[in-house]
Subunit: 357 residues, 2 copies
Amino acid sequence: MANNQGAAMSQFPSAKALIPFVSVENMMRLVHHVGVETMLVELTDAIEADFRRWDVFDKTPRIASHSRDGVIELMPTSDGEIYGFKYVNGHPKNMAAGFQTVTAFGLLAQVSTGYPVLLTEMTLLTALRTAATSAMAARHLAPKKVRVMAMIGNGAQAEFQALAMKAVVGIEEVRLYDIDPQATAKAAANLADSGLIVTACGTAHEAIRGAGIITTCTADKQFATILTDNMVGAGVHINAIGGDCPGKTELHKDILARADTFVEYPPQTRVEGEIQQMDPDYPVTELWRVVRGEAEGRRDQRQITLFDSVGFAVEDFSALRYVREKLKGTDFYQEIDIIADPDDPRDLFGMLRRAKV
Amino acid sequence: MANNQGAAMSQFPSAKALIPFVSVENMMRLVHHVGVETMLVELTDAIEADFRRWDVFDKTPRIASHSRDGVIELMPTSDGEIYGFKYVNGHPKNMAAGFQTVTAFGLLAQVSTGYPVLLTEMTLLTALRTAATSAMAARHLAPKKVRVMAMIGNGAQAEFQALAMKAVVGIEEVRLYDIDPQATAKAAANLADSGLIVTACGTAHEAIRGAGIITTCTADKQFATILTDNMVGAGVHINAIGGDCPGKTELHKDILARADTFVEYPPQTRVEGEIQQMDPDYPVTELWRVVRGEAEGRRDQRQITLFDSVGFAVEDFSALRYVREKLKGTDFYQEIDIIADPDDPRDLFGMLRRAKV
């Protein structure tokens, strides 16, 4: 595919120089084109398919740059053919200043050439993939015929979580609680026409009443205790997604002592997850082993299962590949000229020189 | 700066959602607007200024994903106020297929919010910053009044290297050698009107004759020996930039035994640089200490100095900040909508919902 044209005849930028970029606006168009719930179901399946081939991935804990106000992380992985990474920040104080707590973008590249093949916003996509990952875990861990979920923390992730549990696991009612009633009102309004029974609750206690799935997704407290031991009855599945940083947890450790805990990637979760409160030998089961049928998920209807989710690069990789596939035949992207592509690859300077007008 | 407008009145995308993106084409416009040599001088000064405040940087060896055909790396750093990273690949076989061996892009973000503030191509910018870093090292290490440089390896970096040594160190002649005479012809043609005396040489031996600076920049050999011990006389400065990967070197180890070696960041260079051939306690001097006057650079005119350069994140950071500064008041960028910015930061789902047409 080398471009053999002379400099005078060559097109600039060439096709090799361009990669598709999915803006926030185009991501929203894509989501509505596919349908939110359909996309959540398809993402759940895409992530599950990658968890089944867990061993092919190049796994490394994310590379975090911590500062007083938050963290910036790079999360790379590769399956040997495609390389992907996500840039993501977490700044709990952002909200008060009118900024998102979490923003993200991601990239895929061809391993054989190192050339990028996709750049995309991932703030929305991360909310979708986090919800899909939660739903995948619940599919294997939640009690059978679960009908009610509690959603503790009604921020930016809440509606995505509820819709994924509806679309993938079949829940019919979501019980909302947040320390800020305005957040609950926002989530309730957004879910009003979702087909879910939506119940706004005044306390966390009230929210978890009758719930088979309890999702905690709160952001801004250090070592908070969103759930205490006495609140959690037998047989529930806890989906803990807010504790995802050193020093940031949501559950009292007595709950962990009673629960069977499932994680994405132990070296990362032991530092960032709820289990950072426990001894280094606290037993955990890797979720991919459950997905593959190599480890037991839910054993009985009295068991408390806990998905101690911190988010892992493989989930972003699955979501990025899914988006790349879905873009085909659509116009939900722009092409951006991010790769220098001289006619002769060694003639980078000549390309620069000839561009002088 | 919170956006207090209601959903119906809000602009989409908002100013907070947009970040400047510098395409390859716009980077070339910027370079010509500033002037190649001026930009190399200014980049040298920008990098030197950051080397002077070395201790403020969050330093970590780059995160490499190796495959059969090459490597993809992420190089993050931060000075506490601004965070930057570069994505860069190295695929020696790419050239034969008409692709660049090295392509790159980079990003700057605000540490306090985690919000990106600049996305830019960095294939060209990396060639410029690598040449500027070489020139900065030569400014401290090359023999006084050096007039001639040898350039061994005449690929994509060669002309940038020669021009930086001209503009910063004052060399007047460049002697070119490459195993492929076409590469030498290309570099000679590109430098024909540079003001340098350009001499194409048939052997490496011939190229280094009379040269006070010897730059090696070859790409595709594993443990190659571009320079043997007998080729290197007293008093020269060697600028070795091609050996930058585990298993990839250019110099015979006997040269290292005779030279005083200067490096960017020892934990990275001991794995990737020429000194991977030496014992772990082979003495090296960190270049930033020389720049700060805390360590000696060139001691006498007989000494062989070696800058064992592998490239470090701080150099990319300096280059990215330089570009961000230079963009002000120009139109050498596009704005891209990469950050989801709902009116209420917690209402990510509402933003998605309202975007449905």
